[in-house]
Symmetry: C2
Subunit: 173 residues, 2 copies
Amino acid sequence: MAMKLVRGDKQLAGDLIRALEHVRSNLRCCSLCGSVTSVDEDPCRLCTGPGRDASQLCVVEEPTDVASIERSGGFHGRYHALMGRVSPMKGEGPGELRIQALMDRVKKERPTEVILALSTTVEGDSTASYIAELLKGQGVKVTRLAFGLPADSGVTYSDPVTLEKALKGRQEA
Amino acid sequence: MAMKLVRGDKQLAGDLIRALEHVRSNLRCCSLCGSVTSVDEDPCRLCTGPGRDASQLCVVEEPTDVASIERSGGFHGRYHALMGRVSPMKGEGPGELRIQALMDRVKKERPTEVILALSTTVEGDSTASYIAELLKGQGVKVTRLAFGLPADSGVTYSDPVTLEKALKGRQEA
């Protein structure tokens, strides 16, 4: 990309500069949920919108996860982005994440369910366990997204771990 | 591959001929479950082995699915390969599949659970609904593999349908 800019695509460089200026002056992360919002709308619409169900709080790793879940149309509650996940290998402990802010929100907003929409990786699993442990005794139901076969896939080419979890989590047909 | 054979890899052609001869003279599909077995072992070891739990019958589309589920280590029951799936678009109706053989087995072997390990496609869904309907009133629990996020994946790059199903099927953390 750098070479493309240097070798003469002046139009592209200008577009990029304008896009970056727009981001710098107009966008920020919502101080409540952490997802992307405009500077003059904080907390964001997902936090304050009348159509959002305050009883469900969906915990994600990154603001980009919020956009993906919104596209699915399957969730109408509120979000909380951690801005990462617990990763001892990369030196990222719980202190680096917005976990204390999550605890404060749970105490204040009193959702009935916290949905952990985290990666299905070792790091996602660790983060989920850590948060589930912290939320014990807070009178809130803690759930996690289902593991299993993704849409439009089959058994033959699924990896063994996915198949094992899909078998374990099988549901009445 | 054809060009590779023609252009001179005589060794490869010989290996392929021997492999095909081996398949022709030594392998067949088990007359009971449909998975691959040797000609002198029919029904196969998965059908007759002492370690296999006869109370669970796992319905798959193809014999290759059996190998994948065995690799996962998450299932110890018996199998039944349909040899395809209901696909009106391709002119494959239920009559083309081993569905009558499945009904006969359920009546004879009396499993307590039939697990539908089918594709998460429109065709897989149709096949699952069709079989679930046929098994109603047979006194057998019918389940399907969990839909959701596969192993080692995250929210941002998951497709909307998968996220919607993962949200719907969420489990207590």
